[in-house]
Subunit: 229 residues, 2 copies
DNA sequence: TTATCGCTTGTGACAATGTCACAGAGCGCA
DNA sequence: TGCGCTCTGTGACATTGTCACAAGCGATAA
């Protein structure tokens, strides 16, 4: 049960289906859902584990990734405010194990909904249904892109794209947005590669003058070189 | 409209939701669906294309794959009798482009359902809903496995597993089931690798006495060697 | 029969990426 | 200052992908 008006307001802001789905949906949603806060690094679900509840993220981000036998891993996608991990939903609804790991990257605040409610609202609300299927399609699309990148894109291009993407979404002012706080290991994990390979590629980029590397940070000097990849 | 009783019977045999979902679902399904036959090699959907209808396969198999810039490709999964490509469904319901290619591997006979009906039955039938979500979860699981294999499994092991899998499902008698009719190129496409690499690995397997290769066929001599991979 | 054509297979050289082992550099902290 | 931890750098080697090209095999036409 969610009684706090400010929480209700935030949920409505984050999730359009609550805004547009009508009074009935909102009422049953607030009656049935709970808000939970998970600390950073909390493991939400293990590969092969069962999930019993669907989380709708209000704040923070969770990362969904695959872990290989050798310890290498790759990030599949992130679940951010206003989103939900619907792979969870489909696992809930078909009682299958979750096929990856999910972990809190930051502290995560989320509304938690039971399997029964997820199912019930599918019949009663077209807005909820649209939300769920939009999320399903989005995640499938993201995973397909990852697969495409892994198989068919050269790693230097993928690394360049990742650096540019990070620079774009860094929240600081223009002056510091060119300095990324990130380790080689973190980049390798995003790409599903290994740290040494990332180190080598960064050295090559550095030779061309595209960037400067330091311990735990990368300064982009000439993004156009990276864009050319 | 599907009036032919034998077609109705076959559909009910193939799809449990029609058997268990009640008279009302059956009636509306047979009233709204059509049966279509597509020739082998027919392209069902291109990468980035829109899909407007959901196909429920009655006979034959369709293959869903990703195609890279360089011409390499990888099979993601197959849609066989009793199944449906629900990635299509989620694309339909969220009006997103389909993120891969789908092609008829054999002649395919399928019941075709409009976007509106897919949506309508989600509200009206829990059996239809369960069917759709079971398919979604299954496909997601398959794609996740492919990604896992590509990133974390050595290719010789994947090739060995593929050969054993083919041998198991080959429909002939025990004597000939050890002879696979398949080209190196076809194996490469399954694995998302290249023909030369498959050729090399097969040569290595041949050296160990695990199999014999001939033009367009592979004879398994000692499956236990492959299982050890 | 022979010529020819298309598909399939074989192979060597090289490029890209992953793995392993290990060394050193930077940084916080006792 | 010295210790311990994380992060980075590097060489050697294994695996996989790419490219170029040759050869084999089987069907069909001449």
């Amino acid at each position: 049960m969610i009684q706090d008006f400010s929480q209700q307001r935030r949920l409505i802001q984050c999730f359009a289906f609550l805004r547009d789905g009508g009074e009935a949906l909102r009422e049953t949603f607030f009656a049935q859902a709970k808000v939970a806060t998970l600390p950073a690094d909390h493991i939400i679900c293990r590969d092969g584990g069962q999930c019993s509840q669907l989380a709708l993220v209000l704040a923070g981000t969770a990362r969904v990734y695959k872990l290989g036998e050798n310890g290498r891993e790759i990030t599949l996608y992130r679940v951010e405010a206003g989103q939900s991990c619907v792979v969870t939903a489909s696992c809930i609804l078909s009682r299958r194990p979750f096929p990856a790991f999910a972990i809190c990257e930051t502290e995560v605040e989320a509304a938690v909904v039971s399997q029964a409610d997820v199912q019930r609202w599918l019949t009663s609300s077209s807005y909820w249904r649209d939300f769920i299927f939009a999320q399903v399609a989005e995640r499938i699309g993201e995973v397909f892109s990852v697969l495409d990148a892994v198989l068919f894109q050269p790693l230097d291009r993928r690394l360049a794209a990742l650096l540019l993407h990070r620079a774009r979404r860094s929240p600081q002012d223009a002056a510091t947005s060119r300095i990324l706080q990130v380790t080689h290991q973190e980049l390798a994990v995003e790409l599903g590669s290994s740290r040494e390979v990332v180190t080598r590629l960064l050295r090559d980029f550095e030779k061309t003058g595209a960037l400067l590397t330091g311990r735990g940070q990368i300064e982009l000097l000439d993004p156009s070189i990276l864009e050319a990849r």
